[in-house]
């Protein structure tokens, strides 16, 4: 028999079901509320759109075979007869009884505390009552600035009330957070419009003539006019049942239990917030769940124990990250603290270390809890502590790169596939449970990667990592046609001076190739100075984007992006782009990379469009290739009051040097003219920021799907040295990265991290710097605009037609007007291809 169907009581039932307890036991559950168990932690989300159904923890059918009585709490227990009676008069004789009755909020017995307008914050019914009362009222206050109090304040705020928090202690969250963290938290919360009053003791709730709440009175200071008050000043265990039947209870409440969660009566267990376990009442759900596991184990004959819980907390309060773990207050003898506090970005982090900094003991985070997961692992000893753990809480500044962290460090709850909302945990458990070894299987089992496909590289990395951890030998084969990784193939091509795909396939592969290995090999051949990418056999290796030198869109049309080096464009070029767009009926849009994209071109239109653009002095922007895209820039010292170098000129120089360079994935760059970083260079594969003395070079940043800050490679470089370092960096990446691996991912996997990269690029420890520079020189010397080379040659223009046996354009490309331009029709908006032709 289970008394209570809250989160912990429900977890106990789940644990019993996991252990097949229903074969030997009849399970009877009594709950006081009228609803089956729900997620009490997420209660405040009910006021921001979450439904009651979404909060439920009990799936339909989950309690099949279990007797569940809701709205009928247990009223008394007769231990001699091993029998309990419910409020509704149901009598059950038990062989084992679990008390999971939870707790009630403490309401201080001050005058007015029970008048209309006073509430507690514990159940869905409480929230319904608050919502009903708040309608048409303006101001709400919460008594208690702890974790639950702030949750309640969030709920009031979501109801549109002017919200106050009144805390007796001198700071918010006094149990979890230290003074500095509380100060940061207070600033953040006040910025959200919540007024915080600390060191204030409420002495009375003042009511109006009708007896409704009108104001709060304090020991110190003036009255505060409020329409409703929510008490959230701590909890008291629900131990009345235990007291009534003579079980041992603690001095300040709570049913005393032993390590196996048994009360002073061996047939009766107590778990969750009603229990006094390991010397205290545990007011968090995680230790409660742990007790549920221990009690369920004891019932089915095991001997699991609960000797203390983890009080680590990480939560989002009103969108603000707050976390604390371990010895957050540095109570351990010899403990020392490292504090990072940024008043501008409102971030506070405190790390408590022992053993002269070699051991992580605890910590507090406000505003940015990204390092929490890793540090908790270190504190528990589940993960080795690095030499200098303080680096984990400090941001990336010069000479202090963040520790390289691979997929392993991604949180299990992180969404990998946003199209189908698949988390890392879901993918990992599918891999383990179904014994998956290929990405195809992962797609089928989880649907990850079946939407836009953008997450496939990350999911594949995850798969490999999981297999590696499971001890499965992971072959990094490119595909079924080559039993080599991209890096190995690259070396083979380079060392054996292989110049064609068929030669490589004959000597080192099998089958006919596929859409994976063909473009990958084409890219390698191109980055080794292969010349025009569409001659002879090379043409058959290219993705359609490279084949038609344009970007395929969903309806089969293409988009065109001319190069705009550094984002600098003349009025005449703008006019030429506009004229081409008008003439060919193209949709135009400014890109994120300071260029202009022209959409909706049919293949037969591409050469004509490019003839116009080339006439106006423009060239291919390689938006279609796994190649250098754009080098974004600000105007720098040429115009800007703050600029310290000519960032635009450098951006143009860089873009022209590396244009057309084929790489494992696209490459983006930027140059900022001062530390204000308007060009966002730190989010690029390589970025440059001007200093008074020269240039700082940042590498391996990324925007997009998994944003990552770039890492400082070298500072105060002259322009010449900067270019040489970029030459070496890019060629080293091209040589060693996997297919479709951006520099950020490549860097995360690089053993030795930034120190190793510096040793290769700056100190030339591998002795390849000259070779890398020579390879880049060869690229620069052989560069030609692919579009110019195409339209200059009638033979090459021939493939730009819709049909091999008909001059007509493709009639299935249909456009519809939208906002003074037009968009491609969706399939349901146009006839089928056969209907069109008929």
């Amino acid at each position: 028999m289970v008394a209570g169907n809250g989160m912990v009581g429900h977890k106990l039932v789940e644990r019993l079901l996991d252990r097949d307890a229903t074969t030997d036991w009849d399970i009877v559950v009594f709950g006081e509320e009228h609803r089956p168990a729900y997620d009490r932690v997420g209660l405040s989300s009910l006021f921001s759109g979450t439904t009651v159904e979404e909060l439920s923890l009990v799936a339909p059918g989950a309690y099949d075979g279990i007797e569940l009585h809701l709205g009928d709490p247990i009223a008394s227990i007769d231990r001699d007869a091993a029998r309990a009676v419910s409020a509704g008069g149901r009598i059950v004789t038990y062989d084992a009884l679990v008390l999971a009755t939870g707790s009630v909020p403490v309401v201080p017995p001050i005058p007015g505390h029970d008048q209309p307008g006073c509430f507690v914050y514990r159940t869905i019914d409480d929230l319904d009552a608050i919502r009903a009362y708040a309608d048409g009222r303006r101001v709400g206050a919460v008594v208690g600035g702890g974790l639950l109090g702030l949750e309640a304040a969030n709920a009031l705020r979501n109801l549109g009330l002017v919200t106050h928090v009144v805390e007796f202690a001198p700071r918010l969250m006094p149990v979890q957070v230290d003074e500095g963290g509380a100060a940061a938290l207070r600033t953040l919360i006040e910025e959200l419009g919540v007024s915080v009053h600390t060191s204030m003791q409420t002495t009375e709730i003042v009511t109006d003539a009708d007896g409704h709440v009108a104001a709060m009175r304090f020991e110190e200071g003036d009255d505060l006019d409020v329409d409703l008050v929510v008490f959230s000043a701590g909890i008291r265990p629900r131990d009345e049942l235990a007291r009534g039947c003579g079980l041992e209870v603690g001095e300040r409440g709570g049913v005393v239990v032993d390590e196996r969660c048994r009360t002073s009566d061996p047939l009766i267990y107590a778990i969750g917030e009603c229990a006094l376990a390991a010397g205290r009442v545990w007011g968090l759900v995680a230790p409660g769940y742990d007790m549920a596991r221990v009690a369920a184990d004891g019932i089915v004959g095991g001997d699991a124990t609960f000797t203390g819980g983890d009080l680590s907390t990480k939560l989002k309060l009103m969108g603000v990250d707050v976390a604390s773990f371990g010895d957050a207050f540095a109570a351990t003898p010899g403990a020392e603290t490292i504090t990072y506090s940024d008043a501008v970005t409102r971030v506070y982090k405190r790390l408590v270390v022992g053993d002269g900094g070699k051991k992580v003991l605890g910590g507090v985070f406000v505003g940015d809890a990204s390092a929490y997961q890793v540090l908790v692992q270190m504190a528990r000893g589940d993960m080795p502590t690095p030499d200098d753990p303080a680096r984990l809480i400090f941001p990336d500044v010069e000479g202090n790169a963040p520790l390289a962290i691979g997929v392993d460090a991604i949180s299990p709850t992180a969404t990998i596939c946003s199209c189908n909302n698949v988390t890392k945990a879901a993918i990992c458990s599918a891999i383990a449970e179904c014994g998956l070894t290929e990405m195809g299987g992962v797609k089928t089992a989880t649907r990850a990667g079946t939407g836009c496909g953008g997450c496939v590289p990350l999911a594949t990395e995850l798969l490999k990592d999981e297999l590696r951890k499971a001890g499965v030998e992971v072959r990094n084969d490119l595909c079924e046609h080559f039993a080599y990784s991209r890096q190995e193939l690259f070396d083979i091509v380079r060392v054996h001076r292989i110049v064609s795909f068929s030669e490589l396939l004959a000597s080192h592969g099998q089958g006919r190739g596929c859409e994976i290995c063909k473009p990958a090999v084409a890219s390698m051949l191109a980055s080794m100075g292969g010349g025009y990418i569409l001659d002879g056999e090379q043409a058959t290796l290219q993705d359609t984007n490279d084949h038609f030198l344009a970007n395929l869109q969903r309806d089969g049309s293409y988009s065109v992006v001319p190069r705009v080096p550094g984002g600098e464009i003349t009025p005449d070029q703008l006019i030429a782009i506009g004229q081409a767009a008008k003439e060919f009926g193209l949709y135009t849009k400014i890109t994120g990379g300071q260029r202009i994209d022209l959409f909706g071109a049919r293949v037969d239109q591409l050469p004509g469009i490019w003839a116009r653009l080339i006439d106006a002095g423009m060239e291919s922007g390689h938006a279609y290739g796994k190649a250098l895209r754009t080098v974004k820039s600000c105007v720098g010292q040429t115009w800007c009051r703050f600029g310290v170098q000519d960032s635009t000129s450098l951006a143009i120089q860089i873009e022209l040097r590396y244009r057309g360079l084929r790489a494992p994935h696209k490459l983006k760059s930027a140059v900022s003219g001062c530390t204000r970083e308007c060009a966002e260079a730190q989010s690029k594969d390589f970025g440059v920021i001007a200093t008074e003395q020269g240039w700082n070079l940042y590498v391996c940043g990324n925007g997009g799907m998994r944003p990552q800050h770039a890492v400082l490679l070298a500072s105060d470089l002259s322009s010449d040295l900067l270019i040489r370092y970029i030459d070496r960096f890019l060629m080293f990446y091209i040589r060693t990265a996997d297919r479709l691996e951006r520099t950020a991912t490549w860097f995360d996997k690089l053993e030795g991290g930034i120190d190793y990269l510096r040793s290769v690029i700056i100190d030339d420890t591998l002795g390849i710097a000259a070779e890398l520079e020579a390879e880049m020189e060869r690229h620069v010397a052989t560069y030609e605009c692919e579009w110019k080379a195409t339209i200059d040659d009638p033979e090459r223009v021939r493939r730009f037609r819709s049909f091999i046996n008909d001059e007509r354009p493709d009639p299935t490309i249909v456009k519809l007007p939208e906002r003074a331009q037009h968009r491609p029709a969706y399939p349901h908006e146009k006839p089928t291809p056969v209907e069109v032709l008929q």
């Binding site: 079924e480 006919r512 290995c517 473009p519 043409a539 058959t540 993705d543 395929l552 046996n805």
Partner: protein, 115 residues
Amino acid sequence: MSVIERVTTWIEVCAFDDLVPDRGVCALVGPYQVALFRTSPDDALYALSNYDPFSGACVLSRGIVGSKGDTPKVASPIFKQNFDLTSGRCLDDPAVEVMAFPARVVDGRVVVGVP
């Protein structure tokens, strides 16, 4: 079954030598957009509907040609699903297939059969 079994008309399309090995082209054959593929090194000829059922666009002729095991295939350039060149069957989703047309070379000319 999507392979055309009852051919009513054979239509001449182009010279076999107009086809670039391992690179598709699209031809208009009666009311059909047909993707033609000449594979290497065997110089075999295949003809599928050009219509990609996953995207609703006529693009299969622009996919990369290759093999999966012994099966010759083309990968849609839009979302990369693979189609068996001999049958039109989708190799990634057995519930999906596209029309496969009979095609042959007569006196150096490509001829496609349509229903």
